[in-house]
Symmetry: C2
Amino acid sequence: MAVFLPSPLEILERKKMPTTISDVPTPSFLVDYDKVKKNAQKMIDTCERLGVQLRPHMKTHKTVELGTLMTNGTNRTIEVSTLEEAEFYAKNGFDDILYAHPLIAARIERCKKLAYRLKAFHVMIENFHGLIALLSSPLENGKKWSVYLEIDDGCGRSGVPWDSGDVIKLAKEASESPYIDLQGLYLYNGKTYEATDSKGIENTNKEGTDLLQTLHKRFTDNNIECRTLAIGNTPSCSRPHEGMNVLTEFHPGNYIFYDMQQVTIGSCDIDDIACRLTTRIIGHKPSHNIFLIDCGFLALSYDGMYEYPNEFSTFVDNADLKVIGFSQEIGKVTTKSGDKLNYDKYPIGSQLFIIPWHSCATACQHTVFYVHSGNKITDMWKPAKGW
Amino acid sequence: MAVFLPSPLEILERKKMPTTISDVPTPSFLVDYDKVKKNAQKMIDTCERLGVQLRPHMKTHKTVELGTLMTNGTNRTIEVSTLEEAEFYAKNGFDDILYAHPLIAARIERCKKLAYRLKAFHVMIENFHGLIALLSSPLENGKKWSVYLEIDDGCGRSGVPWDSGDVIKLAKEASESPYIDLQGLYLYNGKTYEATDSKGIENTNKEGTDLLQTLHKRFTDNNIECRTLAIGNTPSCSRPHEGMNVLTEFHPGNYIFYDMQQVTIGSCDIDDIACRLTTRIIGHKPSHNIFLIDCGFLALSYDGMYEYPNEFSTFVDNADLKVIGFSQEIGKVTTKSGDKLNYDKYPIGSQLFIIPWHSCATACQHTVFYVHSGNKITDMWKPAKGW
């Protein structure tokens, strides 16, 4: 791995690194190093066992350090959600990057630079606009655009509907173009998010695998070559069934941290969750049966708050607490049970820890992650930002 | 104003500045320079007319450039919501900064540095924990902690309840301490957010002004000296009544951009809104009557989405569109009316502009603001981030 020396400012900042998790400024995003290491290794082992290439998604954390951990130190074969991330990882020595977002013509120039810079850079298309954009801007010097075709299994997320005529038309045109290398098919397999246990995930995985195989056969029947059958998302890859060994690539991302949503789905246990938000109590409001914390919508994000008001914010060691409202920098906390708060138990200034509903949403609100092993802060990581 | 030269990297980035708003990458946050200038000037004029000191809040944008515009070029007398902002503005030559967040002991050391560095640095307290923290850490060299006491008018937001005995106790102890200069009282005046027109705001302003005057009289009766009576928030200061000239300071922030929430309250017209989010269409889903845009929850934020589903996302020149769902980097758009989308009118790749429900929430999701005059991009501004 290429080493990028920290700037003088960064060295100064690292000097100020807190000693323990009690010393971090609040609100802050905490990453449990031992748990992320375990989560990363487990997914590597799963993929090795099934003989499937792991292409971990970086969007959850956007850091160099976790990219290295998730790729088992190779810094190869990753997936990103924005061009900013693609450029960030390319700059930091990563290669074989899939830019997994429906391609539009307005992004071709930035993609071209990445295609020339990296040994392997892949784009994703889901419609003819994307295909025409590629055909109108062929790469030079013998390079071809490497393309994943995204499939929609009916969820209405991005992807070409799997049972529409457009799948074959798009794939046929792409595979017959001298400017394009049709790398493969990618299915997000979004129905796993409707599961409530690991059995439910496994069933959906079977459906997704069958769908990709059906499509692959249809491709073969139409003389369309395509090497990769990729399936995505964290529940799918956390609870795979053995029949998924017919697939080529796994694209999970959230598993590095996990969160309460993943627990609810059944893709992990609460002890697997490797991140927390730390906050402090800043005020008491007995007349409203609330206390105030220094965690507003900017620090935790609204993700899950309205759909899952009781699960959205899980306070570690304080099971009866929940966030019921936000301003930019302040949260209001009351009890789930409706019981009166015991303010003696929650003095102003005391530190609390929240497990987020959706760790991707919470992590992305932070410019630095405080990494710890046990209670000791061991590092500070800076994620990529923007688009 | 002290000038801070851009780094070589920033110079390079400015070279890449887009020419027009059609050239900006999407999603991006756009700032209309002519409108922010007008909004800033109008608030300056209002405060001059009423003889009230303007202390604009920086939390909405967190940029040096708008801080300068909002302070009429003085770079003095501002308000911030986080210590990170306070340090950012101090570093960039701003002075007389109020850190408007309930103070806790864990933040005393960073506050001390700011108190020594600046000619005027003020903290805000709302409880005895904050007061004790200050009394336990007196400043040296003849400096005193300058303190605003935050008042809660009953909304249950931060602030000591205005009608509780704690107000007098806190103020008395603060004013009698040799280590503290009790600067004044601050009322957020949150009830204005329940207004639906400018008349409603004016009525609430009258209540807020009366409340501050009642408290001030109570202070005088108790021999508590306090110079400043400050009232906050954008609706209050955008639609003041003339009787507010008895107050000392105005603390609005959102008025620099305004947004759909402010239109709904009655504090501005839609033409006053000085910011937009630009996005591009990246996919069509006729089977679900939606199209996809490259604006997910990371770019727009969820703020307002659940409480005001029809007002939350206002598409400029496309009144019947609304965002109905998000993933991290993708939004789903359909019609408010339930009519079928005319996909010919919305080709993939086309650029759309969204007026946010809450501009503070949307602006804070961005690491750069694209500034324009008419269609021409004139600058790129970088806001402070973190806590």
